[in-house]
């Protein structure tokens, strides 16, 4: 069929309409809400009162929100390095044609399909429990008393414990992405490099890495958008050091059962706007940082 403006409009129409309804409208409404005060999230617009920048002012004077922004930065950076690093390493190992390779791939990917809440509680109740948890039992068996006594869930270590759980459930997803990219690279490059005497590190550094750079960049952007909405594990590992902006938004919007007076949809909307802007800025920054060169492969 010939591409005309009409046919483009017809084919794009439904998707565009859905996009406008499901994404664009909520974004616009939330942005508007951030400049108003209202009683509940679904209060009709006629009941809103204009507040100017008051919500943002309150937000940036709320210690918990500032802490949560720092936390999300730390989660993004630390678990980002760990997750993407592990994913890359595992992808490298699991593209070498090992025995049971597919089984290992499936095993690493598996946690990604389990709901984050379930993963969180699994770690919290069965792995980190310091009386009968997996780690405590394991270290006791090994006779490593100091580690067996380690309080995984005390305030100071909660952040570390949560990061471990997060890396565990995300590595598989990015590993699969890297594997797909690596398997796309022609064997010929490696064969000729091998003949020329390049060792495994040189082959990785000079062939694999440049050829999957685009995917690496994309994974970093994806990582950013995934992390900014960090919620389920923060809710499960409930602590100041694990508090995230998404959880702040949720609590401010719906409050807890004990703190139902604190509902403030305007401030929650402001927090959502700040998160969205952060995600956009960081993603764009990353895109510029990791420029993709196009190779013929």
């Amino acid at each position: 069929m010939k591409q005309t403006k009409r046919s483009i409009a017809i084919f794009l129409g439904p998707a565009a309409l859905l996009y406008v309804l499901v994404f664009f409208y909520p974004v616009v409404r939330t942005t508007m809400m951030s400049f108003f005060e209202m009683r509940g999230i679904s209060s009709p617009m006629k009941e809103w009162t204009f507040a100017g920048l008051k919500n943002f002012n309150k937000l940036f004077h709320t210690q918990l929100f500032l802490i949560s922004m720092k936390n999300i930065g730390k989660i993004w950076l630390y678990t980002g390095i760990a997750t993407l690093g592990f994913a890359l390493l595992l992808a490298l190992i699991l593209t070498q044609g090992l025995k049971f390779q597919k089984f290992f791939r499936a095993s690493v990917y598996l946690p990604n399909v389990i709901a984050a809440v379930a993963i969180g509680y699994m770690w919290l109740l069965y792995v980190f429990n310091n009386k009968f948890g997996l780690l405590t039992t394991l270290f006791k068996l090994l006779g490593w008393e100091k580690m067996a006594q380690f309080q995984w869930l005390s305030g100071n270590n909660m952040f570390l414990s949560m990061c471990i759980a997060y890396v565990f459930s995300n590595t598989g997803y990015f590993m699969m992405m890297y594997i797909a990219a690596m398997e796309n690279i022609s064997r010929d490059y490696y064969d000729s490099a091998h003949i020329e005497g390049a060792n495994v590190f040189q082959r990785f550094l000079y062939i694999t890495l440049p050829l999957i750079k685009g995917v690496l960049g994309m994974s970093a952007v994806l990582w950013t958008t995934r992390t900014i909405g960090f919620f389920a594990l923060a809710q499960v590992f409930s602590n100041t050091s694990t508090f995230t902006p998404m959880l702040y938004t949720y609590r401010t919007l719906f409050a807890t059962e004990a703190g139902s007076e604190s509902v403030n949809p305007g401030v929650a909307a402001a927090s959502a706007v700040v998160m969205t802007l952060t995600a956009v800025i960081v993603s764009q920054g990353l895109k510029h940082l990791i420029k993709t060169e196009n190779y013929e492969i």
Partner: protein, 463 residues
Amino acid sequence: MKMRKVFSVMTAAALTLSLLTGCGGNSSGSAGTTAATSAAAKEESTVAKEETVQAAETGNGETAAEGEELNGTIEYWSSWSETENQALVLQKAAEAFTELHPDVKINFTFNGRDNRYLVQSALEAGTHIDVMDANIDNIVNLWSDYVMDLTDYMDKPYDTTDGKPYKECVMPSMLGLASSLFDGKTMCIPYIPQAFMVFCNKGIFEEVGITEYPKTWDELLDACAKIKAAGYIPITTEDNRRPSWVGYYLSRLVGDERVKEIAADSSQWDDPKILEAAKAIEELATLGYFDPNVASNVYPAGQNDFVISGNIAMFINGTWMPNETAEATPEDFKWGAFAFPEVPNGINGREAGCYSTYAIAVNKEATKEAADIAVAFAAYVTTSEYDQMFSDEANSIPMSLDATWPDNLLEAREVMNSYTERFMSQTSLGSSTDSSTIISDACVKLYAGEITAEEFVEEAGSF
């Protein structure tokens, strides 16, 4: 090929697991769906019917339900999850109620605790809801614009009130709470009351020779000393209840209203009374009275440990705890409970305490027919044998005056009956979402002896 099969099976299993355990706990069910419960309900409804006849004969003859026959379908959005005992009893009650009133149908939507905000959004969006329940503080704060004034209904008799007005058949303190929160109007009908107090392993108290529960702070310190000397852990808590010790102490010392101000405003934290409370709790920590695991106890690990290990004496918790731990509790475990002791120079004594209740509210937009059914059902739930069933099967506190309380809450009953002044459900220290996480973290560090009282004030007050 084999690997692929293994992979697909594993993925499918994981997907199913995630579906089963994922969020989104909405579930709905209508009265009269399962054969098993319906058979049970039939049997029970016969009893209910007999009661109705008796009521008609002995009372002033006409119940509200009888005056004009109830007719219609109501939509009930509830704060229990479908698998919780409370939800099961509620459904059984509905079965029996609809047997009694054949033209009535009750459709349930069980949303769990998220109901408090789901109802609000759903009503704004025009969803048809006639009846909804939530914690009464949530009804005041979130639903007060949406609920109907039920004051007039309180003077009427219902199916199971023996011809007496409803208000004479249920705990007056709870009805009092309902009207005091809404300027004297009854905007909701309380059921499943709850209170927050010191729960204890009575066996330990008896073993170390404590015959009377501590009434003052000094007596508490003495009790802790005896318990510790006998090799037991005096006190534990877990993440959900962390502010309880500081919160209760402070509310005794300066009053719960003042604590609410303190929780909402970091500039109030130079009040020397806060340091005084922190010092008292610090002393408990220095003397080693808190569980060594207190810093890493995550719900429900702490409360399970409390009943399973049998070596922890006290845990400030709610009247829901015996129910939540029912399956883990050994048969010989003796539940005890007492009011948080008086503190030196405190403005409140043991007559003040945290209590609250769930309550059934009616949408103010509901039709008169729907409202009549809703109130008749609420009255039925709180005065029929199902009120007792909440007690028997869900270890909840019954509303009806002549119901028997669960054995493991008998002492809690005495405590609750002694309360004449109310603190917010788990003291006001956790009433602000901006500060509660920060305060709670500082509390646990104080209990674990990681920080001093001065550092506590500094840390908890930085929000």
